[in-house]
Symmetry: C2
Subunit: 380 residues, 2 copies
């Protein structure tokens, strides 16, 4: 078989040739004036995608490093933290807070559902206030998007900081960092930003800086105070991953030249097509409610007769198509199709076509072309 790969994982995602080419540029000294100017321009572009006028830092780490940065700079041992958990990444966020000695109150919502503000308010009334609230904008493990606007509005007039994981949605969905009152917004490079892994981006509100300055907890590599000091010279405190910065610049150019509204609409349409295709093949969407469905990842249960692992193996082995499996408690039961970044509506059709062929090969009772037709209809 031709070893041609079709990557539909919700991170990493395919890297556009323009980004790969940009990453091949020669190294420059990261303490040079060239880097300083370039760095300043990148941050300016990233702020447009974040829809923020807050400070923004590009860190050389994975997205988890970005989440740790948010926690490490705002949480000291004993601090009260409210973690709103809708899936595996919500759990990880809570784990990081616990690792930093926080007293974490967890509110867990059933996987496949979104956070429910009524329950948040009730918890707040019974157990609040909290110093920090952790939320996931787009829960990659379940394909659910949470209403951060409502949460931010609820917390806006409190002293509480809102820390949001937007790792798998920034650059794909309409995220209004400032309008939603998000104090620390975190994303990673290898999702809708169309880069290889290795960078995290974190924005910091003025309100957050007060807490960060007063925070006595341990941090070094992830210190935002050091990052801010270096940023005054358009630099980074530690050696940055220069090739990824080159790539980030090119990727942000791609996003901004397509236009943010167009990018958001494309992702909404891809999600609608993926969901229509999956439904038409008789599979069960984990996020049953369209209103909370992620625009970047579609998670589904292949059903009792088809093992997710078999399907996944056949797709990869015979067609070079990679979907992601389930995480945490849904490991082995779920499949997830990533459709973000360097992904077109046509790529979603291709994914559905591959899925129905794989189901057919496994003997499932599917009508060939039915998933594709439903996805096409969702687009036309």
């Amino acid at each position: 078989m031709l070893n041609k790969q079709y990557l539909y994982t919700p991170g990493p995602t395919p890297v556009p040739p323009q980004v790969a080419a940009a990453m091949s540029q020669p190294m420059i000294g990261h303490r040079s004036q060239d880097f300083a100017q370039f760095h300043g321009e990148i941050v300016g572009k990233a702020k447009q995608v974040f829809q923020t006028t807050n400070d923004l830092f590009v860190l050389t780490s994975s997205g988890t490093g970005g989440l740790e940065t948010a926690i490490a700079n705002t949480v000291s041992p004993g601090d009260r933290v409210l973690a709103l958990i809708t899936g595996n990444f919500g759990e990880r966020f809570a784990k990081i807070a616990a690792a930093y000695g926080a007293e974490v109150t967890k509110v867990e919502f059933p996987w496949g559902t979104a956070l429910d503000m009524e329950q948040v308010v009730q918890t707040w009334d019974e157990e609040g206030p909290f110093k920090v609230v952790l939320a996931t904008h787009n829960e990659t493990s379940t394909g659910v998007t949470n209403d951060i606007a409502a949460l931010g509005s609820f917390l806006a007039d409190t002293d509480t900081l809102l820390l949001v994981d937007a790792v798998s949605s920034m650059g794909a969905m309409d995220i209004r960092t400032d309008e939603w009152h998000v104090d620390l917004m975190v994303t990673g490079s290898q999702k809708a930003l169309m880069l290889p892994p290795g960078l995290a981006l974190v924005s910091v509100s003025p309100k957050a800086w007060q807490t960060i300055e007063a925070n006595s907890g341990v941090r070094f590599y992830f210190s935002l105070l050091d990052a801010r000091k270096s940023f005054a010279n358009n630099n980074t405190p530690w050696t940055p991953a220069v090739s990824l910065f080159y790539g980030l610049d090119a990727a942000l150019d791609l996003i901004l030249s397509e236009g943010l509204p167009q990018v958001f609409q494309r992702h909404a349409r891809m999600a609608a097509a993926a969901r229509a295709g999956v439904r038409a093949l008789g599979m069960q969407l984990l996020a049953a409610d369209d209103a909370i469905a992620s625009h970047t990842v579609t998670a589904f249960l292949p059903g009792p007769e088809t093992a997710a692992g078999d399907l996944s193996k056949l797709l990869k082995g015979e067609m070079g198509v990679t979907f992601a499996g389930g995480q945490g408690k849904l490991k082995g039961k779920l499949l997830r199709i990533g459709h973000m970044g360097w992904c077109s509506e046509l790529d979603v059709i291709t994914a559905i076509a591959a899925l129905e062929m794989a189901l057919h090969k496994l003997g499932a009772d599917v009508e060939l072309g039915a998933g594709v037709r439903a996805a096409q209809q969702a687009l036309l």
Copy 2:
């Protein structure tokens, strides 16, 4: 719209990332020992794909330059040449012979049909012998493959040379240069060899060398005698396109590691899927007979109600999908889907899905998913 392109032209074809990466290697002097060794290895690999033990040369030119090389070295003014024409590229081959002063006898077959040996034999009997016969293995303009084995067998015991254009089939279809008695076999880089344009490959039989040595016609850049002299030192007479040689080496590795039988089978399956999909959408295949259908390009008439130009424009403008149009007398009437080289069975499904969506948008009476289903069934 995301500016992501899906290239289905029958040349150029998509370049694999491995080939693009290989082409980024630093330049080396083309008179160096490094180049000499590398050049020798490339030619050895190319001979496997050509299925030949004849001499083989890699020329820095387009495929047309390769065809001219074949003519310029074997044809002198006044020589009698038989040109077997099944489409636009057969016509071009004849034109080159005429440009070199040959007295060309053309036998033309209706576009969409293959060369007919009975007619060839009849022409031979009435007007032969000829010094040189020109034939096209895979006629890119019509999607027809000619039976070169039969032609070669007919000419094997004569003094006549058989020159074959395999520009759009070498590396995709089972071409037996030696077994078929082909004296000069020509291909180009930008088709199933998965490279950008810029290289032509020409094999030369011992029988052909006698004619070439005796030939008094004009040639310089395309002189095979000079090429042979340089090749004795594993070099080229003029400066070679080194980055394309790097790419050719990587592309030949991809082909040989997939395995020639596997490569041939993949292309046969892609063609069957494309034809099934096109048929199911009610379009007319130009090569109606499956037995002569090209494995690398599928040509079809969208039908009286759908202008080929509108379809092409919509596919490119709204989906980034490029099919090729008609050439010569079929300009504006035909569409051609290239499926060769760095193209998978799934890519063919994608092309058919795009085609049916475009037809639907143009108001054609198509059942969404029907083309995809037929293509899937052809593969399953």
